[in-house]
């Protein structure tokens, strides 16, 4: 384990989990999905299409090594499973083609759509994927098949990486930022830009003006939410709508998106950051069954 230095407020906790109640040796099809994103990497193992184990890690400087690290951490937690025991591995995310042991790669758009249906149920129609470096609004049918999608410009404005930078700047642990931002009496005007570079200088200006951290976070998350809502309205929001990706864990952003849309986001059944990897694993299961036919 890396020792977390106090100054690294952007560091969100990595997590590894296994469902102890299941025995993987009983499963007919063991599939694995790896979502290699710009900021985080998730690996999941599914037994006959049911979530069994996952690892959610930070992406390092090497895509291949990050995928390896996540899978190994998960296998270690399971204990007696080896990589060869997995029938099919599918890679997705920006770094998907850099996963040497994946049998197939599928776009993160397709995987997030399908994964969202697993995480949120088949009622979900609009999926907002808020990742480390991009925002995607995806419309899906009841099977999680993508009907339409829109993503942000070539720009990390308002994305996970932007929030990391702001948390670092304000010396606030990223896991607490969302809750803190809700502790304002009155919602401040949004900061004028969500551009990571410009927002940084704007926020420094607000600090100098004497604004409290809560108020600054509120202003920043308000701007992030506005940007996202513009994107959603372009693709057309249909209830039921759901948020996947890392930012779905930030209550400050989620609450503000809900307020602006006048809609409540669905409650996840599983960690919504896993949606992409779950989608990949579900495709992996189908690919394995297809190959045996």
């Amino acid at each position: 384990m890396v020792t977390v230095q106090e100054s690294e407020y952007w560091r969100w906790p990595e997590s590894i989990w296994v469902d102890e109640s299941k025995n993987w040796q009983d499963a007919e099809v063991i599939s694995c999905g790896i979502d290699l994103g710009s900021v985080s990497t998730q690996a999941v193992v599914m037994l006959d299409g049911e979530l069994y184990a996952y690892a959610n890690m930070r992406t390092g400087t090497s895509s291949a090594a990050s995928a390896e690290k996540a899978v190994n951490a998960m296998l270690e937690k399971i204990g007696d499973m080896k990589r060869d025991d997995i029938h099919y591995i599918v890679g997705t995310g920006y770094g998907r083609v850099s996963i040497p042991f994946a049998q197939k790669t599928i776009t993160e758009i397709a995987c997030h759509g399908r994964g969202a249906v697993y995480v949120y149920g088949d009622k979900v129609r609009t999926v907002l994927d808020m990742g480390g470096q991009d925002l995607k609004a995806i419309k899906v049918d009841s099977r999680g098949k993508v009907i339409n999608f829109l993503m942000n410009d070539k720009c990390a404005a308002g994305t996970g990486r932007g929030i990391e930078v702001v948390c670092d700047l304000l010396s606030i642990p990223i896991t607490e930022a969302g809750q803190l931002s809700l502790q304002v009496d009155e919602e401040p005007e949004p900061v004028s830009t969500t551009c990571v570079v410009f927002a940084k200088s704007e926020i420094l200006g607000l600090i100098r003006k004497g604004w409290g951290k809560e108020r600054i976070l509120a202003a920043f998350f308000n701007a992030v939410a506005s940007r996202v809502v513009e994107l959603l309205e372009r693709v057309g929001v249909e209830p039921e709508f759901a948020i996947t990706g890392g930012i779905s864990k930030n209550i400050g952003v989620v609450k503000r998106i809900e307020d602006k849309l006048g809609l409540k986001a669905l409650e996840p059944k599983y960690d919504p950051q896993l949606a992409g990897a779950i989608g990949a694993a579900l495709f992996g299961r189908a690919l394995y069954i297809k190959s045996k036919k």
Partner: protein, 370 residues
């Protein structure tokens, strides 16, 4: 020799290619039919050519009266070609036996460009001329241009844009200044005259397809500008039959169907126009693939009708495309380090335009029900 419809056939040459074509057809018609693209805008296959149409006396926009002078519309001026040494409009010149046409002559290109500059002087174009137009989400403008100067939501299928990309945007194109022209909400249609390039296609569609005469154009006395409008103060008074041909035939984003009424036979009778390809596609053969760079990038596969059927990013263009030989007829590619992101951008662009995924990108379709 006779054509299958009984017309006499003549032999002409376009850009060195010998063609047997029906006598009486225009150069533009026979060129497009033989897959030789000549840029054009006021031309539409369902209506007669624009040049020489006599102007009306009065038209109206939002009830406002525009009085014109006697005269005729000369056409958009984008289809100029050289025919037997003379510069002519391809949409208005019939073919004759032995005619030699050059569509790539410098004189013709220069003429097209100067007319394109004229069109862009009064039509929003920052998005069409923007360097980042292909990846842009068109929600927020990185360069801060006001909404009125940006292009409308029909950008991905805008005919003016396609034509302009083909001709090339001349550097002398002036900045567009918003003129605050009328935006009219009628019972069924919304007209934003700021987007009108006065090509008179809707006027001819209204007259020739529906025979309604609800739209017309005048020639302004001062500058000789063409202005398209209603032939009376309101839609009903002008004799509008609400057929929607104007919506279908407009090359830009002037007129919209407010109620998004289902199609009717008049609307359906308007055929799609042939647009230029924005990219040069190559034939998908082992030979053409062998000379590709073995570097990361994104490629698109096209079928025989030049429809995009597959979009994919890959760390090695040559290797990946080699395995695709036989799956499609043509391809194009671009080298790109961030190919997974570029792939998403191109798929997004396709989705916005067609409302569905490219056919072969749907390959995961059968994986949902297993």
């Amino acid at each position: 020799m006779e054509s299958d419809r009984g017309g006499r056939m003549v032999r002409i040459t376009i850009d060195g290619v010998q063609l047997d074509v029906e006598e009486g057809k225009t150069i533009l018609e026979v060129a497009l039919k033989n897959n030789i693209y000549i840029p054009n805008l006021c031309y539409h296959p369902n209506v007669s050519p624009a040049p020489g149409k006599i102007a009306d006396e009065i038209v109206y926009r939002n009830g406002e009266r525009y009085q014109g002078v006697e005269g005729e519309y000369e056409g958009c001026g984008l289809c100029f070609v050289i025919a037997d040494g003379e510069i002519v409009k391809a949409c208005d010149t019939p073919v004759r036996d032995g005619l030699k046409v050059d569509t790539r002559d410098e004189r013709a290109i220069k003429e097209r460009k100067s007319n394109l500059v004229r069109i862009f002087a009064t039509h929003p174009h920052v998005c069409i001329t923007c360097e980042y137009r292909n990846g842009c989400d068109r929600i927020q403008c990185t360069f801060g241009y006001p909404v009125e100067e940006r292009c409308c939501d029909l950008f991905s299928k805008c005919e003016l844009r396609f034509t302009a990309e083909y001709i090339g945007i001349p550097p002398e194109t002036p900045r567009y200044m918003y003129r605050g022209l009328p935006v009219v909400e009628e019972k069924l249609y919304k007209w934003d005259w700021n987007y009108c390039i006065n090509c008179t296609r809707c006027v001819r569609g209204c007259r020739e397809v529906r025979e309604a005469n609800a739209l017309g154009f005048v020639i302004e006395s001062s500058a000789g500008n063409v202005i398209v409008g209603r032939t009376a103060q309101t839609d009903v008074e002008s004799g509008c039959k609400f057929c929607g041909v104007c919506v279908e035939i407009c090359p830009t984003g002037v007129v919209r169907d407010i109620k998004k009424k289902a199609s009717n036979k008049w609307r359906d009778s308007i055929v799609a126009k042939k647009l230029p390809l924005l990219t040069e596609a190559l034939e998908l053969t082992p030979e053409s693939v062998a000379s590709l760079p073995d570097s990361p990038g994104v490629f698109r596969l096209y079928d025989e009708n030049m429809e995009v059927v597959y979009i994919k990013g890959t760390p090695n263009l040559r290797e990946e495309l080699h395995s695709e030989v036989g799956r499609a007829a043509y391809f194009d590619y671009e080298e790109h380090e961030m190919y997974t992101m570029r792939e998403s951008e191109l798929i997004q662009e396709f989705l916005q335009k067609h409302g569905r995924m490219p056919k072969l990108n749907d390959e995961v379709d059968d994986l949902f029900d297993l």
